[in-house]
């Protein structure tokens, strides 16, 4: 244990109380970084998923590219981007967005593919246009699967944001890095615990959101 020699207590509450402002600003930065990554990632994924659904043959290559991005170690990705985008927020977000794509694309496509053929046939048979079918029937019915993807991506991204501390961002990751550099456990623990709390909190909020948006799925579960 690298901290074994220090006589410091595991967590110094006086540091926490005197740095509430700093901690709060890191929480906010953490959420901003996460929000941008999820928003941009979802928007890109939505477009790619629609392309994949429209042109079936493109699904394999799209998921292949997203899979490669997903497989690159995040540290390596940041290093590769440094010569191009430098120590900018763009570098951080490109990395974070990359990791959301595979999750989002797969869940959007799987969710819409999961809509039974006979529902589509009934809708078209009653005079739905393709576009209205997608927006009014397919997307709402795919919501449970899509939101499941959003939950995984959210929890993953909140964890990953801490790594961007290495290029000067990172939100709560900066507290962790600061603690590591100074062999001072308090900010490290505060950063790590708050990051976990955020992940769990947003996961819970998304569960509530899903329940609110898909009351039909819950009632079905209740009677089966």
């Amino acid at each position: 244990m690298i901290f074994a020699q220090t006589s410091e207590p595991f967590i110094r509450w006086d540091w926490v109380w005197s740095h509430l402002g700093l901690i709060w600003s890191k929480v906010v930065q953490h959420l901003v970084l996460t929000g941008i990554a999820l928003g941009v990632g979802f928007a890109i994924s939505l477009v790619l998923a629609m392309v994949a659904l429209r042109y079936r043959k493109s699904y394999a290559p799209i998921t292949w590219v997203a899979g490669v991005l997903y497989a690159i170690p995040s540290l390596a990705l940041f290093v590769m981007l440094l010569p191009v985008t430098g120590l900018s927020i763009t570098t951080a977000e490109i990395g974070l967005v990359s990791y959301t794509l595979l999750i989002f694309i797969r869940n959007i496509v799987a969710g819409i593919d999961g809509v039974p053929t006979h529902i589509r046939e009934a809708a078209l048979g009653m005079g739905y246009t393709r576009r209205k079918l997608l927006l009014d029937i397919e997307v709402p019915m795919a919501l449970p699967v899509i939101i499941a993807g959003i939950r995984i991506a959210t929890v993953t991204t909140i964890g990953l944001v801490t790594i961007t501390a290495l290029i000067g961002y990172g939100g709560l990751g900066q507290l962790i890095l600061d603690g590591l550099n100074r062999l001072f456990t308090t900010p490290l623990v505060v950063g790590a615990v708050l990051s976990m709390v955020l992940a769990l909190l947003f996961d819970g909020l998304l569960i509530l959101l899903e329940r609110a948006l898909t009351p039909w799925a819950r009632r079905k579960a209740a009677i089966s």
Partner: protein
């Protein structure tokens, strides 16, 4: 009216047509049932009407207008569509499901709500289902919602693709009965696809029997189909119980009834024996001023002076005039007296025997 004019359909990658050079007419206000084995093109034929499948050649006319004059999605809003899997939208309530086509047509909210509650009642559902989701309803209830949804915008034409194929036989029989009652009120032009010949005969004003490759083997009223099937395929498809099926199409009141072995309750034992001897029975029916009381064994009259001394046993089955000859046959073969008693309420009308049914079929 729907008219097929030399319509054919060959699916891409197939060398044989699914439907080949089909021409026939579906009269307005009738139920026409398309029936045949799987692969006979009956569903393809149905789906060409609302252009879910586009014909390779030929033209389909709906009320004098070629179906291709309108955009497919606009055409479909004027044609009701019911499928076997029903296809209710699981994320929408029953009321929202029924409101689908009126919504697409842009009706105002008040008119939609009024129409929805009207339809829920029309198909025999309770008001309380309106705010439920499809998964909360039974299969039979869901199919009623399917029919209500198809009728929502009051389309003149209704396409039904094996709509009752997925429900159990008891519910199916009830839904068929309800459809007939509904049709008597609404007079839609209904095109109904099934592979069940009994369903076809029971529901159709006309039945179109298809052979593999979309060949129309015979197009006739059920009674004519059973009486004079055109060719070996139709005979084979109608099955070995053609006579029984015909009986189910003939109502009791179309047949001349026999007076039967009947005496008044006030008759003497002697008179009763004479009637039984004349009719060749060992029993007589007992009526009182035209009211059917039941029947007695002649042998039980021994030691009694009048028929009134005995208590008549009730006939196991009494038929009304609206019953079918098939039900009459059932009564005949399951009763000790080997006759079916036909009544109008309490009033005795006459009897049916196996010989009478035989004559009815051969006439």
């Amino acid at each position: 009216m729907i008219r097929f004019e030399h319509v054919s359909k060959t699916f891409p990658g197939s060398s044989t047509p699914a439907v080949g050079d089909l021409s026939f007419e579906i009269p307005r206000g009738e139920i026409v049932v398309l029936v045949g084995p799987s692969g006979c093109g009956k569903t393809t034929t149905l789906k060409m009407i609302n252009r879910l499948i586009e014909p390779t050649s030929g033209e389909i006319w709906i009320d004098g207008v070629p179906s291709t004059t309108q955009e497919p999605h606009l055409l479909r809003r004027s044609i009701g569509y019911v499928i076997q899997q029903i296809g209710l939208f699981p994320h929408r309530t029953i009321a929202e499901n029924i409101a689908t086509v009126p919504g697409l047509l842009g009706w105002d909210q008040g008119r939609i709500e009024e129409r929805v509650s009207e339809l829920i009642e029309l198909v025999g559902l309770d008001d309380s289902v309106a705010d439920r989701y499809p998964a909360e309803l039974s299969g039979g209830q869901q199919q009623r919602v399917g029919v209500a949804r198809a009728l929502a915008a009051d389309p003149p034409v209704l396409l039904m693709d094996e709509p009752f194929g997925a429900v159990d036989p008891i519910v199916r029989a009830r839904l068929q009965e309800e459809l007939k009652i509904l049709q008597a009120r609404l007079q839609k032009t209904i095109v109904f696809v099934t592979h069940d010949i009994d369903e076809a005969i029971g529901l159709g004003d006309r039945v179109a029997v298809f052979n593999v490759g979309g060949v129309l083997e015979q197009y006739a009223a059920p009674e004519d189909l059973l009486r004079a099937p055109a060719g070996d395929f139709v005979v084979a498809f109608l099955g070995s119980e053609r006579g029984l099926r015909r009986l189910s199409l003939i109502a009791v009141d179309t047949v001349v009834l026999e007076p039967g072995a009947i005496v008044e309750a006030s008759s003497s034992g002697y008179e009763a024996r004479a009637v039984a001897r004349e009719q060749g029975t060992d029993w007589v029916g007992v009526v009182d001023n035209g009211r059917m009381l039941g029947w007695i064994w002649i042998a039980d009259l021994d030691g009694h002076d009048t028929v009134a001394d005995l208590r008549p046993k009730p006939f196991s089955a009494r038929l009304e005039r609206s019953n079918t000859l098939r039900q009459a046959l059932d009564a005949i073969v399951t009763s000790k007296t080997q006759v079916a008693v036909v009544v109008d309420g309490d009033r005795y009308l006459g009897m049916l025997t196996a010989e009478r049914l035989n004559e009815a079929l051969l006439s």
